[in-house]
């Protein structure tokens, strides 16, 4: 309510000042700044599209009808409601950076002036000719651009001074019903707090110190965020937490003064599933937010995986599989239970035996342990199910041979073999994983696993050009075979859950700075380390 009254007062003031003072000034260039348009932009950029539309329409109508007006009624209403809507859609830039916000406001002002000039020309009013527009429009746009930051800043400061709240949660799609950060209800209690932006009158709702200094922009780097958090924590007398990285808008060091119910499974909670929304993770009143989840999910990132491989390198896998990761997906590793967790086998020891029979197929055979395996690229057992009748995918992960599981080198390249393609796994070697232990001589004779280049070259290698230790020389396939096989599939492509995400990476993708925050899931943002840039 305060905001509406304030907006009304500001608009009325702007209208009267515009008509009584500004329009009477004979400024160089012939144009005059349009204060009402700038106020509409400022209110729209802080209030969102709906308030932008309403404010723009009524401000434009007032400008159309206020006494000296003689033009066709509705022109300014049309232009201003469009501009209000557009600047409401640009609301997110207020959090990105001050420069971006100011630029957007100036751009919207220029667009508004151009639109109104075009509309006046299109309505064929006799007092406006093209030469008049060409004379007056540039200076008008310049004055508007010059005044846009001032008006925007003044409006934000004024609103803050009058205690207007700008709700940050409102424009995140993650908060839609069913969104990733929709208000979760634990035994009937809504746990997403109402957080505030720019204003905080209770420690629970305090925003970061320094982010109140709006024109300085939000802190972007992690260090800046930590500094900000420390400052805030010092100011309001709470202890900063160490090491946490904040996903939402709440500064990383803040505990709420009244801590929530002690959380369970804190140890593994690297990623907070509820943290996609601003401030949802720390200030969770009521029953513990984490109590909803029986077990915290730990994402194995690259470091973690490498550590595991290093840890496992002592064991030698002599079962003839390269098996990167095979046997490590046990219940103790990923916190997943049940014996039926499939292993993923890259290639198998049979590769060597079969190499003479044409393009090496992905070797599949039932594991001795009775565990299932998933062969890459088939989607099922070869020769079964929907794969029946289809030629087996020609994928070979050129294993160095059985007995080298621990020291296995995943190496591949476009098939030299002349017939079948080999799918490159990147030609990486994981030799470092086994602690310098020398590998046995490969059963697979022609591949030279350990010696790089100038060792005896095979004349007619059966797996030609597969030189495991020389990833640089491996030519990458232009188009992997299984991709072609996938393209042949007539069935309709299943709509992914991540369609919203993937469509942003097509030809007509939206620029990254333009996308609204919260469009992607928090998990994705953490995985690709974009979390600090976006919010």
């Amino acid at each position: 309510m305060t905001r509406r009254l304030l907006a009304l007062a500001v608009l009325a003031t702007a209208l009267l000042v515009q008509l009584t003072i500004v329009n009477g000034l004979a400024l160089p260039g012939g144009g005059t700044p349009d204060l009402v348009l700038l106020c509409v932009i400022a209110i729209g950029m802080t209030g969102g599209p709906a308030s932008g539309v309403v404010v723009g329409f009524f401000a434009g109508l007032a400008l159309d009808l206020a006494p000296p007006a003689s033009q066709i009624v509705g022109q300014y209403a049309l232009v201003f409601c469009l501009i209000g809507y557009g600047s409401g859609r640009l609301r997110f830039v207020l959090r990105h950076s001050a420069v971006l916000a100011v630029t957007s406001a100036a751009a919207m002002a220029a667009l508004g002036e151009a639109l109104s000039a075009v509309l006046t020309l299109a309505l064929d009013t006799p007092e406006v000719t093209r030469s008049t527009v060409a004379h007056v429009l540039p200076s008008t746009v310049l004055y508007d651009i010059a005044l846009a930051p001032l008006i925007l800043l003044c409006w934000v400061r004024l609103a803050v001074a009058f205690g207007v709240r700008f709700e940050p949660r409102d424009d995140s799609p993650a908060l839609e019903p069913g969104g990733s950060a929709a208000p979760a209800t634990v035994t009937g209690v809504t746990v997403v707090p109402r957080s505030r932006w720019l204003v905080g009158d209770s420690p629970n709702d305090v925003s970061a110190m320094g982010s109140i200094g709006w024109l300085a922009g939000p802190a972007t780097s992690r260090r800046a965020k930590r500094e900000q958090a420390k400052l805030t924590a010092t100011a309001i007398g709470v202890t900063p937490r160490k090491g946490a990285v904040w996903v939402g808008r709440r500064p990383p060091g803040l505990h709420p003064l009244s801590p929530a119910v002690p959380r369970q499974a804190r140890r593994l909670a690297r990623l907070r599933p509820g943290a996609g929304a601003a401030g949802t993770a720390a200030a969770l009143p009521g029953p513990s937010y984490h109590a909803q989840f029986e077990r915290s999910v730990q994402l194995g990132l690259a470091d973690e995986q490498r550590r595991r491989v290093r840890a496992d390198s002592g064991r030698t896998h002599r079962n003839g599989h390269v098996a990167y990761g095979a046997g490590r997906h046990g219940p103790d590793r990923h916190g997943l239970k049940g014996p039926a967790v499939p292993n993923i086998a890259f290639g198998a020891g049979t590769a060597g035996r079969r190499h003479g029979h044409g393009p090496t197929n992905l070797a599949w055979r039932p594991a001795r342990s009775g565990q299932q395996r998933i062969a890459f690229g088939t989607g099922g057992l070869p020769g079964e199910g929907r794969a029946a009748g289809r030629p087996l995918p020609k994928i070979a992960f050129a294993a160095a041979g059985p007995g080298h599981a621990g020291s296995g080198q995943i190496s591949a390249g476009q098939g030299g073999a002349g017939r079948g393609g080999l799918i490159g796994v990147g030609g990486a070697t994981i030799r470092s994983a086994h602690g310098g232990r020398k590998p046995k001589h490969p059963r697979f004779p022609r591949a030279v696993p350990s010696r790089p280049a100038k060792a005896r070259r095979p004349k007619q290698p059966r797996f030609p050009r597969v030189v495991a230790c020389q990833p640089a020389k491996v030519r990458r396939p232009k188009r992997p075979r299984f991709a072609r096989a996938a393209a042949r599939r007539p069935a309709k492509v299943r709509q992914l859950k991540t369609a919203r995400m993937s469509k942003r990476y097509g030809v007509f993708r939206v620029p990254r700075w333009f996308s609204r925050p919260g469009d992607r899931s928090a998990v994705w943002r953490i995985g690709s380390r974009r979390m600090s840039g976006l919010r």
Binding site: G29, L78, V136
Partner: protein, 317 residues
């Protein structure tokens, strides 16, 4: 508030409403809906403008007069100086206004017009060449009355609300004024050219049937309209500054520099009753001294009534 279906519905409603208003007004400029809307807004916002202009008029005038900055070092002296200067500038403003009013009265006295003095309280937005005055229907103002100031023709009243009225300036491209050339009496018409980039130096476009009569320096007065509406006869309009005669053209064309300064309008008069006799050329200022240059400089613009009015100093208009 996010961009939801509701928001888009709101946008669609607003767009449709604006388009409907435009369509109604475009199709019929004097429809009852639009005119009642205008009248209501004129009453409400015009009152607000009147109230605001009481505060802002000194400010706008202050910009024109320009007060020098303070130079004293001592604070007390400075304060005293400021207050003295403020008094002085207020006195100056009053005197400027007084002299304007005096010239207005003189011009009206010479022409035999009965003039209602008014102040400008608001200016048109964007490309419009309109102003709002602080007198309205209650003061006897009706649409289509001539508006002039101490220098010459300003425009005509187009719409009147209770306490304010809107004046279309002569520089507006929609305004057409019938004129008469000073010595010969040839008839022509003057139309505005709209807003110009060189703000202030707005010129009018004159078209006369007899192109041979056009000479630089010729002065124009209004010729009487039917029943003296919208223009009474004999109001000075301007001076021809350049002639654009084209061979084969039906009319001779010229550019006219208006007497009135349209960017510094302050006190204007509305002719509420026309003169009994046509004043013909008696209101015109004395013709400027013969200047051989075809493009006169703006500073050399003749000020009608200045010498006869005995205005105190040339700097104070």
């Amino acid at each position: 508030m996010r961009d939801t279906r509701r928001t888009r519905t709101l946008l669609a409603i607003a767009l449709l409403a604006a388009l409907a208003l435009i369509a109604v007004d475009y199709e019929n400029g004097s429809s009852s809906l639009i005119s009642s809307l205008r009248y209501g807004a004129g009453s409400a916002l015009g009152g607000a403008e009147r109230a605001v202009s009481v505060v802002t008029r000194p400010i706008t005038r202050f910009f024109g007069s320009g007060v020098a900055g303070t130079t004293s070092n001592q604070a007390a002296m400075e304060r005293q100086l400021i207050s003295l200067r403020a008094e002085l500038s207020a006195a100056r403003l009053d005197r400027a206004q007084y002299s304007k009013l005096g010239r207005l009265l003189q011009i009206s006295g010479r022409g035999g017009y009965r003039v209602l003095a008014a102040s400008v309280i608001a200016y048109g937005q964007g490309y419009q060449q309109t102003i709002t005055l602080d007198v309205g229907r209650a003061d006897g103002v009706r649409p289509q009355q001539t508006v002039l100031d101490g220098d010459g023709l300003v425009g005509q009243v187009t719409s009147v609300s209770a306490r304010t009225c809107t004046v279309q300036l002569a520089t507006d491209a929609r305004s057409v004024v019938g004129v008469r050339l000073a010595p010969g009496g040839q008839i022509g018409w003057v139309s505005g050219e709209g807003l110009h980039a060189d703000g202030g130096a707005a010129l009018l476009k004159l078209q006369v049937l007899d192109g041979a009569a056009l000479k630089i320096g010729t002065q124009l007065v209004t010729s009487a309209s039917v029943k003296n509406r919208p223009f009474v006869a004999g109001v000075p309009v301007g001076t021809i500054v350049s002639v654009r005669n084209r061979a084969g053209a039906l009319t001779g064309q010229a550019l006219v520099r208006p007497f009135a300064q349209f960017t510094q309008l302050d006190v204007v008069g509305i002719v509420v009753s026309p003169p009994r006799h046509n004043p013909r050329y008696s209101v015109l200022p004395p013709p400027p001294p013969k200047s051989p240059s075809p493009s006169p400089s703006p500073s050399g613009r003749p000020r009608p009534g200045q010498r006869r009015a005995g205005s105190p100093r040339p700097g104070h208009r």
